[in-house]
């Protein structure tokens, strides 16, 4: 345990100015990253453009999972259900009801948020493993429901969004359009996470994450706060699912409710640093980039190598890259072995 040392008081005005600079820096960096992503688009082949669009998609998904799983500490193992609900709503609305994509997109987000509220009210009473299992159950169950609603969803045969001819309500966006759409969703999710992290709501979520009794003792309406975080997380995930459905044109329940998508979100958040804004972003970019690189260069072994890298990363940096760097900079202890020891149970 370190001994107490009195930090000399610095000038008040310089502290304020430094605080302001420190607060503005992440926004400036975000803007630069956004402009870089826009500039990058012109340099990419269409295949690369699709790959990068998928990276953006996972940035948005990871940031969304982080709101409930990272900030609030409620690890949702059924997060893909919002992706599926959003995707299916858009596909059904566009093909059966002739809604335009943009209207469907917005409604998909709202419906996913309502669905999250509905299941969140009973499920967020559960903690830890129980919450994880219950959400997993909801996602698996929803897949079966969608598979069996054949009239509306086409069941296991899938449903096709009309993108050409007279039935098309919104012209297919193409590689360029989806690149921008997923970039927009990624930017929106990072913006939301950034706002949440800095305001009252984010502090309440972090307090709940640590100790719900203590959070309630400070006047935090824990139920409302958790449900709100879940709904916000569902909203973003629903938007992403809707966009994915339009991009894929034909969608199937196995893909839209695939548990692998949830697992990827969780791994990205955990590797990058859960409960931070930057962590899920870096985790999604790193993992998706690595996965694509390995697929192209080690076709047969790529999942094996990726799995090994994830295991090593989790052992060495159990708190995630961003949290590790923050702690290391504060304590000046950069050794990975010391870090492993610190987090060993």
């Amino acid at each position: 345990m370190p001994t107490r040392t009195q930090v000399p008081q610095k000038g008040v005005t310089s502290t304020v100015r430094r605080d302001q600079a420190r607060r503005l820096r992440p926004w400036a960096l975000g803007l630069v990253a956004l402009l870089a992503a826009l500039g990058l688009q012109g340099q990419l082949y269409s295949g690369q453009e699709r790959t990068v669009a998928t990276i953006f998609m996972f940035v948005a998904l990871a940031e969304a999972w982080n709101l409930i799983g990272g900030f609030a500490g409620y690890a949702s193992f059924g997060q893909v259900v919002f992706f599926g609900v959003g995707g299916y709503f858009t596909a059904v609305a566009m093909s059966h009801w002739h809604f335009s994509f943009w209207v469907s997109l917005l409604l998909s987000g709202v419906i996913a948020a309502l669905f999250a509220t509905l299941i969140g009210i009973p499920l967020l009473r559960l903690k830890g493993h129980y919450f994880a299992i219950a959400t997993l159950g909801v996602a698996e169950g929803m897949r079966e429901v969608v598979t069996n609603m054949t009239d509306l969803t086409g069941g296991g045969a899938g449903i096709t969004v009309p993108t050409v001819g007279n039935n098309a309500t919104t012209a297919y966006l193409g590689n360029d359009g989806f690149y921008l759409l997923f970039l927009g969703l990624a930017a929106l999710s990072v913006l939301i996470a950034g706002l949440v992290a800095r305001n009252k709501f984010g502090y309440a979520l972090r307090a709940i994450n640590q100790d719900e009794d203590a959070a309630a003792a400070l006047g935090i309406n824990t139920t409302r706060t958790k449900v709100l975080a879940f709904a916000l997380s569902g909203f973003i995930t629903g938007l992403v699912g809707a966009s994915y459905a339009f991009q894929q044109v034909t969608i199937f329940p196995e893909r839209l409710f695939d548990v692998d998508i949830t697992v990827l979100m969780i791994i990205m958040v955990v590797i990058g640093g859960s409960g931070t804004v930057l962590g899920p972003l870096l985790g999604a970019v790193a993992l998706q980039f690595l996965s694509e690189f390995l697929r192209q260069n080690f076709t047969n072994l790529h999942t094996f190598i990726l799995g090994a890298i994830i295991i090593v990363a989790v052992i060495l940096l159990p708190q995630g890259a961003v949290n590790y760097v923050r702690e290391a900079r504060r304590t000046k202890e950069y050794s990975l072995l010391a870090n492993v020891r610190k987090y060993r149970l």
Binding site: M1, Y203, D213, N221
Partner: protein
């Protein structure tokens, strides 16, 4: 000040399955008084605090705060009604600095704010009040036992409460560390805050309490003036056993 007591309990009780942890506790604390609650281990002191703060729902009786019936209300409702508490086992929010820990209470208290920078500044004032000035940037995990208890105190004060429930804030402290805590309780009392102190340190209870309530096996054994209560043979018996009292009577 109004004649309505800040806290009144009527026949308050809680049963856990076959165990009656607290039963039939009826009393009231007028504004600005310090009530000491004592009793041997397992007497129901912490359960009593949890019943008042809303962390445990009573199975019998009523809890009135400022005359308002808040029986069975959620903990956050009671907190926003002006009742703050500390926890016997400290519950800091790890991953936040000491300053941010306190700021959370300021953000969500009864006259809370939505402005983070304002809350952080107010948090520094509270930290200074409890003797944690200069430690705001630290993570709570680096605090000493005494400072961790002070942080618990500071988080409760951040709510600017009318009623403060202190569940063993002095446990595990050295004698020299107890005095500042007592001084703080006196200061808060002078400000008109009503305080309930659950404590094992008898010297501390005697030093600050206006009234003492003795719990034994979940029931009120006796209550009243601190010195009288502490010399009551029934209280001594509850703590030290029947034979000790007999032997003492034999001596005198």
């Amino acid at each position: 000040m109004s004649a309505v007591p800040v806290l009144e309990t009527r026949g308050l009780g809680r049963r856990f399955g076959g165990l009656q942890a607290v039963s039939d506790v009826s009393f009231s604390v007028p504004q600005g008084q310090v009530l000491g609650v004592i009793g041997p281990n397992g007497a129901g002191k912490s359960t009593f605090i949890n019943l008042v703060s809303g962390h445990i729902k009573p199975t019998e009786g009523r809890v009135l705060i400022d005359g308002k019936d808040l029986t069975g209300a959620r903990a956050w409702v009671i907190a926003q009604a002006g009742v703050a508490r500390t926890f016997q086992i400290v519950k800091p929010f790890r991953g936040m600095s000491v300053r941010e820990n306190v700021a959370v209470g300021i953000l969500y208290g009864s006259n809370g704010t939505n402005v983070m920078s304002k809350a952080l500044r107010a948090a520094d004032e509270v930290l200074e009040e409890v003797g944690l000035a200069g430690l705001g940037d630290r993570p709570p995990g680096e605090l000493s036992v005494a400072d961790a208890r002070r942080l618990e105190f500071a988080k409760a004060l951040a709510l600017r409460p009318r009623l403060l429930l202190l569940d063993e804030v002095m446990a595990g402290l050295r004698h020299t560390e107890i005095e500042p805590s007592l001084e703080l309780i006196r200061t808060l009392k002078a400000r008109g805050i009503t305080i309930i102190v659950v404590e094992h340190v008898m010297k501390a209870i005697l030093a600050v309490s206006d009234q003492v309530l003795v719990l034994h096996q979940g029931k009120v054994l006796t209550s009243g003036d601190p010195r009288e209560v502490l010399s009551d043979p029934r209280v001594i018996e509850a703590y030290l056993g029947h034979r000790y009292v007999k032997r003492r009577e034999g001596d005198s």
